[in-house]
């Protein structure tokens, strides 16, 4: 029997996140160039890792066309100046792209195929609006394989409100206000300085430096949110205020084997304990993290009480609240998204995962906690949960 090799998370970094569209800060910046910036910053912050030691570069994007095409892992590696001897590939699991890049890379390390892996994700939703160029198979609808609303993420969030009527718009708005406030504080207290790299970007008004998340609104109030109109259906509860906007951004992270961490003298932050993906009804895709979380805890034989920090994606407040209610966690639990979430910073689909992990590492270190969980929901009805142990 061969032994499993432990996988460590060394470091993760992201670009500031921008608003998708012509008014966003990255409208004239290529998606792959965003990814390159994140990768180069990661290399710069980790000079102990010689780029030629990287065994594979795994990059995620949901729309793998245009400036996100050409097998991103390879494309980005070459553009970032990583030696041509280092291979790369691209993955897609929509919102869980970066987490899938991380678990795929972890698999390579655990198996002994590589010692160091670079994993990340990018999504330029301005250049690649969701669903653009997607050709849904008509059988999905004609054979009622899925509910039609599964194709619209906002509709699936409304579906969650319908399924769990105790999650009201007021609860969702309150969660959103808290997210904005926590994120505002996070920009003051160091976590963002540690995990975000500013970059110069060209715009119609010349070169600028993108150094903030464009969705950040710490001054958001319940009153302001109450006034917003539902975004997806008449009488709906999901608004622009209690969901994540369409976002551009990129992330990148280093993973290494335990032995390599020793050889290179690295100070890894997290040990990968376990991960799980789960499938649910596509029109309730936001429910996905619930079974995924249960499954990974069961694998690791760890209870929810033993987990010191939760970094959950926040595409919709209702999605996080569903997870809270189902698992018995209070929405105000200080272990949950202490630095805010996607409602405040945005959610560039396939890039988000590494943001969660990087913030989790920071948070566990700050709290001297042991176990932490990153989780998110995935379009077409899936969920992902990864359990980490603080080794920093």
């Amino acid at each position: 029997m061969r032994e499993l090799r432990e996988v460590f998370f060394v470091d993760g970094v992201r670009t500031p996140f921008g608003k998708a569209g012509p008014k966003g800060q990255y409208w004239r910046t290529r998606a792959d160039d965003l990814a390159v910036k994140a990768v180069r910053e990661l290399l710069r912050r980790n000079p102990e890792i010689p780029p030629e030691r990287i065994g594979d570069v795994v990059f995620a994007a949901t729309a793998q066309v245009g400036d996100q095409g050409l097998t991103l892992g390879r494309d980005v590696a070459l553009l970032a100046g990583i030696p041509e001897t280092v291979p790369g590939f691209a993955v897609d699991r929509m919102c869980a792209g970066a987490l899938t890049a991380v678990t795929a890379a972890a698999g390579e390390i655990a198996f002994g195929a590589v010692d160091v892996a670079l994993a990340g994700g990018v999504e330029h939703m301005g250049h690649h609006p969701m669903g653009d160029d997607v050709d849904f198979n008509p059988r999905f609808v004609s054979e009622r394989l899925i509910d039609e609303s599964a194709a619209s993420m906002g509709q699936t969030a409304e579906n969650l409100h319908d399924r769990f009527p105790e999650i009201t718009k007021e609860r969702a708005d309150a969660f959103a206000v808290a997210s904005q406030q926590k994120a505002g504080a996070a920009w003051e207290n160091g976590v963002m300085q540690e995990t975000v790299v500013p970059l110069a970007v060209f715009s119609d008004a010349g070169w600028k430096v993108a150094d903030r998340d464009e969705f950040l609104r710490p001054e958001t109030t319940m009153e302001a949110l109450a006034a917003l109109k539902p975004a997806f259906r008449a009488g709906g509860r999901v608004t622009a205020g209690n969901s994540a906007g369409l976002t551009d951004g990129a992330t990148a992270a280093f993973l290494v084997s335990e032995a390599t961490a020793g050889v290179l003298g690295l100070a890894p932050k997290l040990r990968l304990v376990g991960y799980a993906y789960a499938g649910v009804e596509p029109h309730l895709m936001g429910y996905g993290p619930v079974p995924a979380t249960r499954r990974v805890l069961e694998q690791a034989q760890i209870t929810l009480d033993e987990v010191d920090l939760f970094e959950l994606n926040e595409p919709f407040a209702v999605q996080v609240l569903t997870w809270c209610d189902e698992l018995g966690i209070d929405a105000g639990d200080p272990r949950l998204n202490p630095y805010g979430g996607a409602i405040a910073c945005g959610h560039p689909l396939a890039a988000t995962g590494v943001r969660l992990i990087a913030q989790l590492a920071y948070g566990l270190r700050e709290r001297k906690g042991r176990y932490g969980l990153t989780a998110l929901c995935i379009g077409m009805g899936m969920g992902c949960a990864i359990l980490w142990e603080n080794v920093g």
């Binding site: 390159v36 110069a200 600028k208």
Partner: protein
């Protein structure tokens, strides 16, 4: 051309706010940013914001791929007086001087093409970063018979020393306008940091922060100890290149030398005075005209129908001599398609193949495997284009084209003849290259009465892919370049045969500022070829092209001048006679429609014979000096059908 604007953005840093300024025109890299009136208007607001703000540093950069390419050349053709020139020059000094006086560190982040006024803008900053990919960095002004007068002649020596300044401002422009690459600019001391392009603006911002913390960049005083020697050597090189025919390089040297003694303000005034003299000068105006002719008219391919070119997948070259070898090498290297050669005997073909394979195989070995040759005609089967470069005899060429037409009935048949009738020999069109092929960019694309639009468009497409410049001419003996040069030669031969010396005839032409003495050119072309061209032209136009016993002698290997009479002329008289003859020949070229416009005559002479910009090819000079008026009663520009 879109208006240039300066965009200012505020960037937070650990040393305080940094002013990040972009010079942009809202277009992509194909329309580089220039500094014209609109730029200066936009700069007024910018400089006020810079002077009044709480800035810790400034970084000035360009839109992607372009820093700034300097003054708008279209604006200076509108300059009519010394006052206009003075005003434009002062505007630059006023603005750039205020940038230089800013009380915080300023960095020019040179991300792309940085020419002329753009470089002067950069030199007014305290320091410069440059992206490793920059290949267009320099002062083309002297090439255009003006000077970098927005402080360039003063700051270049102060920053990088007089030797570098002379190279940058005077020597390089006279070497076919050679520009510097980023490493060269760094080496000369004109840039301070060489940065990779991938995070260029980020790293330039970091450099500005560094400067703000360290209090600025340390720069040693320029070394003036060798200035007299440097100036003497430089003047001698300038004499060799322009023979005193344009003032700009000499004035530039004086200004560079002046920087040793002058304050910057005194230097600015000296530049203004010099620009007042130069900008409205005939040489500068001719240069602006030549720039337009070469960069706009010939690049657009004037006179070409809008049809799709044929794809060229196999090329045949008839002949294996020097010209054929050069042509085969060029086609192989640029088109990367199979090339076949044919000559009368196999050893000659083999020798040519060996030369070609050696030449092309160095970088791309596969090219050496797709060139072949032999003595048979059947190898031209399947060719899309067959170009002939054999002995200049009509009968031989007729035979060649008959044979080729037989095995490759669909191919475009082209000739590289320098003086024979394209139509009479049975070719579809002419592609007249100039020797040495690797150096001279011109190809005279010769249309006959039978040339189809598709053939012509394909010819221009091929010429473009060969990275040559095509000018459309019609089928007439010797086309444009050789006809003009030969007409001039008849004047020179006449002078020699009437008692003048070769030194005098050379001096007559060199004093115009031409790069090469006619006697040297004659040796390069070969007297045999030159005499053959003269004979062809004599057959067509006996009155204007009398045969020369002296040239015939040269062609036979002799060096004797056959003196016919004693009518010795002064050098100035020879020059005037030559110019009048050229004006007259240009008229005939236009009358016959060989060249469509005077501008096409000039394009041919600039690109095919190295005629200088400051003569505007030649017709601009003839018009400016009244020669055209004397000979034709009006200017050649008016004579041509389409004004440039």
């Amino acid at each position: 051309m879109s208006d240039t604007f300066f965009a200012l953005n505020r960037v937070a840093s650990r040393v305080g706010p940094i002013a990040l300024v972009t010079v942009d025109n809202g277009e992509d890299y194909r329309k580089p940013t220039t500094l014209g009136r609109s730029a200066f208007e936009s700069a007024v607001g910018l400089i006020e914001e810079l002077e009044s703000g709480d800035w810790a540093a400034m970084v000035l950069t360009g839109k992607p791929f372009v820093f700034c390419v300097g003054a708008d050349i279209d604006e200076f053709t509108r300059v009519r007086s010394a006052e206009d020139a003075l005003e434009g020059t002062r505007a630059g000094h006023e603005l750039f001087g205020r940038i230089r006086a800013l009380p915080f560190p300023t960095v020019a982040a040179i991300n792309g093409a940085c020419l002329g006024g753009g470089l002067e803008l950069a030199l007014h900053c305290d320091a410069r970063t440059i992206a490793t990919t920059v290949r267009h960095f320099g002062f083309p002004e002297v090439f255009l018979s003006i000077i970098p007068a927005w402080g360039g002649t003063q700051l270049a020596p102060l920053i990088a020393g007089p030797e570098a300044a002379i190279k940058l401002i005077v020597s390089n422009p006279l070497r076919q306008n050679k520009l510097l690459s980023a490493p060269e600019a760094l080496e000369l001391g004109l840039a301070d940091r060489l940065l990779e392009p991938v995070e260029f603006v980020d790293e330039s911002l970091a450099f500005a922060v560094e400067l703000a913390e360290s209090g600025g960049i340390e720069r040693g005083a320029p070394d003036w100890s060798e200035i007299e020697t440097l100036l003497r050597k430089a003047r001698s090189r300038v004499d060799d290149a322009v023979h005193g025919a344009t003032r700009a390089p000499y004035v530039a040297l004086e200004l560079i030398a002046g920087a040793q003694e002058w304050t910057i303000e005194e230097g600015y005034r000296a530049e203004e005075a010099a620009m007042g003299e130069l900008l409205a000068s005939p040489q500068a105006q001719a240069s602006a005209y030549a720039f337009t002719v070469v960069e706009r008219r010939t690049k657009k391919g004037a006179g070409i129908a809008d049809v799709k070119p044929r794809r060229i997948a196999k090329v045949g070259i008839v002949g294996a001599g020097l010209m054929a070898t050069q042509l085969a090498t060029l086609f192989l290297r640029r088109l990367e398609v199979p090339v076949v050669l044919r000559d009368l005997d196999q050893p000659r073909v083999d020798e040519a193949l060996a030369t070609i394979r050696e030449e092309v195989g160095k970088k791309k070995p596969f090219l050496a495997t797709i060139v072949s040759g032999g003595t048979g005609w059947e190898q031209f089967e399947g060719c899309d284009l067959v170009l002939e470069a054999v002995f200049e005899e009509l009968g031989v060429k007729q035979e060649v084209f008959a044979e080729v037409r037989n095995v490759a009935p669909d191919a475009i048949l082209a000739t590289n003849t320098s003086s024979l009738s394209v139509e009479a020999m049975g070719a579809d069109l002419g592609l007249h290259f100039f020797n040495p092929v690797a150096v001279l960019p011109l190809v005279e694309v010769v249309r006959t009465s039978r040339t189809t639009d598709e053939q012509l468009v394909t010819a221009f497409d091929v010429v473009g892919k060969l990275k040559k410049r095509g000018v459309l001419v019609t089928d007439a003996p010797a086309f444009v370049v050789n006809r003009v040069l030969t007409r001039m030669t008849t004047v020179l031969m006449d002078a020699l045969e009437n008692g003048n010396t070769v030194e005098e005839t050379d001096e007559a032409i060199l004093s115009l500022g031409l790069p090469m003495a006619p006697s040297v050119l004659l040796q390069m072309v070969g007297p045999r070829v030159a005499n053959h061209v003269l004979e062809s032209l004599h057959d067509a136009y006996p009155d204007r092209f009398p045969l020369s016993a002296t040239l015939a002698n040269y062609a036979d290997g002799g060096d004797e001048i056959v003196v016919r009479g004693d009518a010795r002329r002064t050098v100035a008289e020879i020059r005037e006679d030559a110019l009048e003859a050229i004006a007259d020949e240009a008229r005939h070229l236009l009358d016959e429609g060989v060249a469509e416009t005077a501008a096409d005559v000039d394009a041919c002479l600039i690109l095919g014979a190295g005629y200088p910009f400051f003569l505007g090819g030649i017709t601009k000079h003839l018009d400016q000096t009244g020669v055209s008026e004397r000979v034709l009663g009006r200017t050649l520009a008016e004579y041509g059908k389409i004004p440039v």
